[in-house]
Subunit: 306 residues, 2 copies
């Protein structure tokens, strides 16, 4: 089934305690799409860049199998740019600079051919823009929203309206607490699930993720990694793996939601192994399958012996 | 099979943002024993208290089925006392006061009748004391060690010697990093497993635990709780559940180690529901079994659908 990923495509300048790189291909839609393509071959990207966006990056995305009809190039505009520095433990980072550039006036237009996408991923953008994109879709089977502290704080009403429209919200633990105004993750999850989304995923970085759907909770571990190179985009890669798997399923069920979280976790575990999307670009299906088996072993609880 | 728990029995003064209580029954051996007794009925406690230790608390332990031949009462001595205050998020706490009292001169003597215990839990104590207790045991099938940052910093040589003697080490993530002098938990685990213990458990509080044994890793989730009342002793309760389950098994295998971690996690999830050991004292086998089933559901990954 088809998947639409609307979000940002960016040029990132990333610094870690061990290395730094400038003009790294980035953006939520980039990671989303590059992750989702392992699960479905109809990945439809909607984003905007400036004419400073390198042809080589456009080619990378196209060669990776992402459909780019919805990638708008604004003449005279500059691509969204983020500059960040990760701390030693990689769990926290400072945003040193954000240049919205073309994002300042981005009004996504979903190409006609993209409008019947079945799985719709609304990557992190201003909530009313996310709602507008949703309004352009003809028959989504499942809609997934990402947001961030900035919108929770700055545009609560728009976010509340957009939340009512979607099936699933994916946020991290700090955002979940902030959105629900509750320090307890479990209570926060209950509150958020009255705001619209029946399904909630709370990402906990190196501590895995929690899936709240129906009346059950799934605690998905994080794949243990010896070396972390760059966590940029891992959350978006998670969303892409999650949504991509659902795009492949006949139906969204408690069963397939859990498998989808597994897929998201596995893909995200690869994305952090190199700068920007490099590892997602080099990743093979065989590697993905092998780590999925390893992930199942990681979480496996044997039955009680007699 | 029998289990020996050597550690502290204390009078704690606990403060949370919501409540406070003084002279709460505490100590690593207390929580260890009260947890282990759900899995084996031969729980042998070795610790020391002063003559200020309330008879009512001694009765509580005895009525709970813990064997107290090894509970030494030092005449004229005062019981070990800890005063702590938890922060709003319960993940961190301040130790406001520690009165070692009888612990200052505690030289555990394992009663003759206790010396053939099969599972030996060396609760957090000075490492050479832990080694001394181990030396008094006649035929342990499995030995488990707990330690803390204080010993890692202050008595590294004694700790190194004691580590070489045990089968399993249980520490939290900060302690694992400190012990291995490595920020990567995975690398830290590899290093620690060359120091003696073939099996390592890294506790991550609200984020569950990691079990490293043989060439596999098990990521055990933490049971999601709406309300946390007092985390004091949860780590010791974990150890008690883990060790208690092993005491019940015919052999320690990769399979039974995973089940043991599940048992430790489930018991620990109860212990935090009330002040001190109150919940462990009121807990029933039926409640434990029900939550164990729920815990298995929490971690369950269904097979891929066709």
């Amino acid at each position: 089934m088809s998947l639409l990923a609307v979000g940002t495509v960016a040029l990132d300048h990333i610094e870690t305690p061990f290395a730094s790189q400038r003009n790294v291909l980035g953006g939520s839609a980039t990671f989303l799409a590059l992750a989702a393509r392992f699960f479905t071959d109809d990945v439809r990207l909607v984003a905007a860049v400036g004419d400073d966006f390198p042809d080589a990056y456009t080619a990378m995305l196209r060669d990776a199998g992402v459909r780019l009809n919805g990638l708008e190039v604004q003449p005279g505009g500059k691509t969204f740019s983020w500059t960040g520095r990760y701390h030693y433990d990689f769990n926290s980072r400072d945003t040193l600079d954000t240049q919205l550039n073309v994002l300042e006036t981005f009004q996504p237009v979903v190409p006609e051919a993209f409008r019947d996408a079945r799985i719709v991923c609304l990557g992190n953008l201003e909530p009313s823009i996310q709602a507008d994109v949703l309004g352009q879709m003809s028959a989504p089977a499942y809609t997934i929203l990402d947001t961030m502290n900035f919108w929770i704080e700055q545009t609560p009403d728009a976010l509340a309206q957009t939340l009512r429209l979607v099936d699933c919200l994916i946020v991290n633990d700090a955002e979940a607490r902030q959105l629900a105004d509750d320090p307890s993750l479990i209570r926060a999850a209950s509150k958020i699930r009255t705001m619209g989304p029946k399904t909630l995923i709370i990402k906990k970085g190196e501590h895995g993720a929690l899936l709240f759907s129906d009346d059950t909770v799934f605690a998905a571990p994080a794949f243990p990694l010896e070396d972390l190179h760059d966590p940029t985009g891992a959350g978006d890669a998670f969303m892409g793996g999650f949504a991509g798997y659902l795009a492949r399923c006949r139906a969204v069920t408690p069963h397939t939601l859990r498998r989808a979280v597994v897929c998201g976790s596995v893909v995200a575990s690869f994305s952090v192994e190199a700068f920007g999307p490099a590892r997602l670009l080099s990743l093979t299906q065989a590697e993905l399958n092998a780590r999925t088996r390893a992930y199942e072993q990681l979480a496996f609880i044997p039955a009680e012996e007699d």
